[in-house]
C-alpha cells in the first residue's frame, strides 16, 4: 500500500477509458503509463494494478518498465515540481551545488516529496538551456545563471 494514495471517480474513469481504447493495440503499455502518470502524478501500486488487470500484462513486467525509465515515478509529485539539470554544461557550472542546497533547504532526497505535498525534487538530464547554465525549473518556471545562495529567495516565492 502506498501511503496517501487518493483516487477519485473522475481520475479512475479517465484511466479506465484510456486502458479500454489501448487494450487491442499491442505495445501500448508505455503510452498508458504516461497517461496514467499525467492523471495521478505518479504510478503507485493501485494504478499499476489497474493497468495490469486492464491490459492483461503481469504486474512484475509493468513494474520492470516503470523502474527502467527515469520519466516514470513511483512517488507522488509535489504541487511544485523542482527539477535540477545535471546535464554536462550545467554540471560543470556547478548545478550539483544547487541540488545540494535544495536538498538542504527542503529536507528532501532526490525523488521524494515534502510531507505537505508542496515540493518534490528530481534531477534531470539536459533540458536544452545550456546558455543559462546552471539551470533548475519549478514547474514551467526556469531559473538560470544562479548560485546556491539564490535558492532560499526563489523557494520563498512558492512557500505560501
Amino acid at each position: 500500500m502506498s501511503i496517501g494514495f487518493v483516487d477519485t471517480e473522475e481520475k479512475h474513469s479517465k484511466l479506465l477509458a484510456i486502458i479500454e481504447e489501448s487494450k487491442s493495440k499491442p505495445g501500448s503499455l508505455i503510452h498508458v503509463l504516461h497517461e496514467a502518470q499525467d492523471i495521478y502524478g505518479y504510478l503507485p501500486i493501485e494504478v499499476q494494478k489497474m493497468i495490469s488487470e486492464g491490459l492483461d500484462i503481469p504486474l512484475a513486467e509493468i513494474y520492470g518498465v516503470v523502474t527502467f525509465y527515469a520519466q516514470f515515478s513511483l512517488k507522488p509529485k509535489g504541487e511544485y515540481r523542482i527539477s535540477v539539470c545535471l546535464g554536462t554544461a550545467c554540471y560543470v557550472k556547478g548545478s550539483d551545488k544547487l541540488l545540494d542546497k535544495l536538498k538542504e533547504e527542503l529536507h528532501l532526497e532526490v525523488g521524494d516529496c515534502t510531507a505537505d505535498g508542496k515540493f518534490s525534487l528530481e534531477a534531470c538530464r539536459c533540458i536544452g538551456a545550456c546558455g543559462l547554465a546552471p539551470v533548475f525549473t519549478i514547474n514551467d518556471d526556469v531559473y538560470g545563471r544562479i548560485g546556491p545562495d539564490d535558492v532560499p529567495g526563489i523557494l520563498a516565492k512558492y512557500k505560501d
Binding site: L59, A60, E61, I62, G64, F68
Partner: protein, 581 residues
C-alpha cells in the same frame, strides 16, 4: 543441408540451426550461461561469442543461425580473451561465497570459472559492499539477488513457460535486478512455489527453503517416531546426484540409504497415490452419475492448485476435493497406522521426500491437518535428501537394495506413474475401467498410451463399458492456462482433466536434481526420467491401485468405502479464491 566450417572442421548441417548446436556435433563445446534451449535463447550474456569470417564483431553462437559457406572460429585468441573478460565482469558483481553455497559443485558459473582458467578477480565486487536483502519468507523458495547473474532464465521460465509471471527484471544499468513487483517478497505475490525457477537457475540465486536441519533434529529425538515417505518421481532422479546416468532408478538403494540416515520407517508415497486413485476415481464416477460438476480436475499438484486459486477461481468447484498423495498418506499414518501400531500420533514425525518445492508450502496449508495434527511435518526435495545422504557418508550407488517397509510396501504400478504427465490419468482410468465393467482388465489392456508422452496438452476419448469418457492432460502451467481458456471460451469440453504444474510432470519437478544447461538443453529429462517410471510400473506385480493390499485393508478396517464420511474428513480438502497482490 549447408556446408560450414568450424575451427577448420568441415560439417554438413541443417540450415538455420545455431552455431552452438552445429559445434556440438563437431564435439566442440562452446561455453554458455544464459542459454537454455527452448526456454531462454536471447544471446544476452556473451559467454558463447565466436569469430565469424567476414563479420566485424564477435557473434553469440547460441542465437546465430548457420548458412552456406559459414566459417567459424570458436577458439581464437580474440574469442578466448573476450569470453574471459566477460566472465570476469560477471564474477566481479557476484557473491562468490562458493564454500557455503548450496549450488557449489553444481554451479554453471563455478564450472565456467574453472574451465576458463580464472585465477584472480581483477575487478572489485560491489555486492560485497552493499548486499541486497535475501528473500526467505516463502515456505518453498529462497531468492538471493547477490548471487544472481541476470541471465533471465528464471524470468523466461516464470513468465513464458509457466505464465505465472511474478519475477522480472527491474531497474536498469548497473542497478538491474531480478525481483518481484514493488520489491515484494515472493510470498506476497501470486507465486505458486513450483520451483521451476530454481531448476533453471545456473547459480545459487534461487534455492529451496531447506528443511534438513528440522529433519536431523527429529531423527536425533528419541521420542520421535520418524517416518519417511518418498514420492514416485524421486527415485528416477536421485541417482543423478551420485553420478548415476539420467534415467537410473535406484529405488532399493534409496530406501537403504534413508534407513541408514536413521528413519524408523520408510514408506512409499505410491501407496498414498493408490489411495488417491480410490478416492478420486470414486469422486469422478459419482460426479458423472449424479450430474456433478464436470470436468473434474486432478488436485495432486499443489503448484497447480495455487495457480487455480489465483487465476481461475471459477474452476475451484471443478477441482477434485482429494488431498494429494503424500498428504493422504500422512493423514493415514497419524490415524489408522498410529492406532494399529499403538503409537501416539503426536510422536509421529512424517517426512515427505518430494520432487517438488510447492509441497513444502502445501504441507503448511492450514487445511492439511487431521485431528489437529499436521498430516506431514517436513518436506524435503530430492536435492535435500541427496545432500543428507552425502552428509552421512553413504555411497548410494554401491548400496544393497532393500524394500519399503510394510504394511505399506506393496504399492501398485499405477502409483509409480503418478510422477509423469498423464500418469495420474492412466492410473485413474485403470481403476475406473474395472469398476465400470465389473471385471479385472488383463495386463495388455491397462496401458493408455494416448495420455503418455511429454506433449504439453494431450486429449483422448476413452470408451469404457460402452461409455465415452473425454479426457485431457496438461503439464506446465502455460499449457494449463491454454486448456482452461479453451474451456472458458466453450471451445473444448471434457469429463476428466489431469493438470501438473511442472512441464512433463513431477519427474521434472522444481525439487529434482538440477542438470546444467549443457545437459538439459540436449537431453529431454522429462522423457528419460518418465521412461524409468513406466519401466518400474511394468516390473511390478500389482499395477492397479485397487489391487494394493494395504489400500484394501485400509477400507475394510477403517474407512469403510471410498468416499465415506470418515474418508472425506481425513483425506479430502477445500480451496479458496486468492487475491493477486
Amino acid at each position: 543441408m549447408v556446408n560450414i566450417k568450424i575451427d577448420g572442421i568441415a560439417l554438413q548441417v541443417e540450415e538455420g540451426i545455431t552455431i552452438l548446436e552445429a559445434a556440438k556435433r563437431a564435439n566442440i563445446k562452446i561455453p554458455t550461461l544464459c542459454f537454455l534451449k527452448d526456454i531462454n535463447e536471447i544471446g544476452a550474456c556473451r559467454m558463447c561469442v565466436v569469430e565469424i569470417k567476414g563479420a566485424r564483431a564477435l557473434q553469440a553462437a547460441c542465437v546465430y543461425p548457420v548458412a552456406e559457406g559459414l566459417e567459424v572460429l570458436t577458439n581464437s585468441e580474440k574469442v578466448r580473451k573476450a569470453r574471459k573478460v566477460t566472465l570476469e565482469l560477471i564474477l566481479s558483481n557476484h557473491d562468490r561465497s562458493c564454500l557455503t553455497c548450496p549450488r557449489s559443485e553444481n554451479c554453471e558459473l563455478q564450472t565456467l570459472s574453472k574451465e576458463l582458467n580464472i585465477k584472480e578477480i581483477r575487478f572489485p565486487s560491489l555486492s560485497d559492499k552493499a548486499p541486497m536483502p535475501i528473500d526467505d519468507m516463502s515456505p518453498s523458495i529462497v531468492r538471493n539477488p547477490n548471487k544472481c547473474i541476470l541471465c533471465r532464465r528464471c524470468v523466461s521460465m516464470c513468465k513464458n513457460v509457466q505464465t505465472v509471471s511474478v519475477i522480472d527484471t527491474m531497474e536498469r544499468g548497473f542497478r538491474t535486478v531480478v525481483g518481484c513487483a514493488f520489491d515484494k517478497a515472493l510470498v506476497q505475490t501470486p507465486c505458486v512455489a513450483c520451483g521451476q525457477c530454481i531448476a533453471v537457475c545456473p547459480v545459487g540465486a534461487l534455492t529451496e527453503k531447506s528443511a534438513i536441519d528440522d529433519v536431523w533434529a527429529a531423527i536425533a529425538d528419541p521420542d520421535k517416531h520418524v517416518i519417511f515417505q518418498t514420492a514416485p518421481a524421486v527415485r528416477v532422479s536421485i541417482g543423478e546426484a551420485f553420478g548415476m546416468p539420467i534415467g537410473s532408478r535406484p529405488t532399493g538403494k534409496m530406501v537403504t540409504a534413508i534407513r541408514m540416515l536413521g528413519a524408523d520407517k520408510v514408506f512409499d508415497t505410491n501407496t498414498g497415490a493408490d489411495l488417491t486413485i480410490m478416492e478420486e476415481g470414486t469422486e469422478l464416477l459419482e460426479r458423472i452419475k449424479n450430474g456433478g460438476k464436470l470436468p473434474m480436475i486432478t488436485s495432486c499438484s499443489p503448484g497447480w492448485i495455487k495457480f487455480c486459486e489465483h487465476n481461475y477461481p471459477d474452476f475451484l468447484d471443478n477441482l477434485s476435493s482429494c488431498k494429494s498423495p503424500h498428504q493422504m498418506l500422512g493423514a493415514v499414518l497419524k490415524t489408522y497406522y498410529a492406532q494399529k501400531m499403538g503409537i501416539d500420533p503426536e510422536s509421529i514425525y512424517v517426512v515427505s521426500v518430494m520432487p517438488c518445492t510447492a509441497k513444502k508450502y502445501e504441507s503448511k496449508r492450514s487445511e492439511m491437518k487431521v485431528n489437529g495434527l499436521c498430516d506431514v511435518d517436513a518436506v524435503l526435495t530430492t536435492r535435500e535428501l541427496s545432500q543428507m545422504i552425502k552428509e552421512s557418508g553413504i555411497d548410494l550407488p554401491n548400496l544393497a537394495d532393500s524394500d519399503f517397509d510394510n504394511p505399506l510396501g506393496n504399492a501398485s504400478g499405477a502409483g509409480v506413474i503418478f510422477g509423469a504427465t498423464g500418469g495420474v490419468m492412466e492410473a485413474a482410468l485403470r481403476t475406473v475401467a474395472d469398476v465400470l465393467t465389473g471385471e479385472s482388465a488383463p495386463a495388455d489392456k491397462i496401458e493408455y498410451h494416448a495420455v503418455r508422452g511429454v506433449e504439453g496438452i494431450k486429449e483422448a476419448t476413452v470408451n469404457i463399458a460402452g461409455k465415452d469418457i473425454r479426457v485431457a492432460v496438461a503439464s506446465g502451467l502455460g499449457n494449463a492456462r491454454k486448456l482452461l481458456d479453451a474451456i472458458r471460451a466453450g471451445e473444448a469440453n471434457y469429463d476428466f482433466i489431469e493438470i501438473m504444474a511442472c512441464p512433463g510432470g513431477c519427474v521434472n519437478g522444481g525439487g529434482q536434481i538440477i542438470q546444467p544447461s549443457s545437459i538439459r538443453s540436449w537431453t529431454d529429462l522429462r522423457a528419460v526420467r518418465a521412461a524409468a517410471a513406466y519401466q518400474e510400473d511394468c516390473d511390478l506385480p500389482i499395477r492397479k491401485s485397487h489391487d494394493n493390499p494395504f489400500v484394501k485393508a485400509l477400507y475394510d478396517e477403517y474407512y469403510g468405502k471410498p468416499g465415506s464420511e470418515k474418508a472425506h474428513h481425513e483425506l479430502h480438502t477445500h480451496y479458496y479464491k486468492r487475491d493477486n497482490y
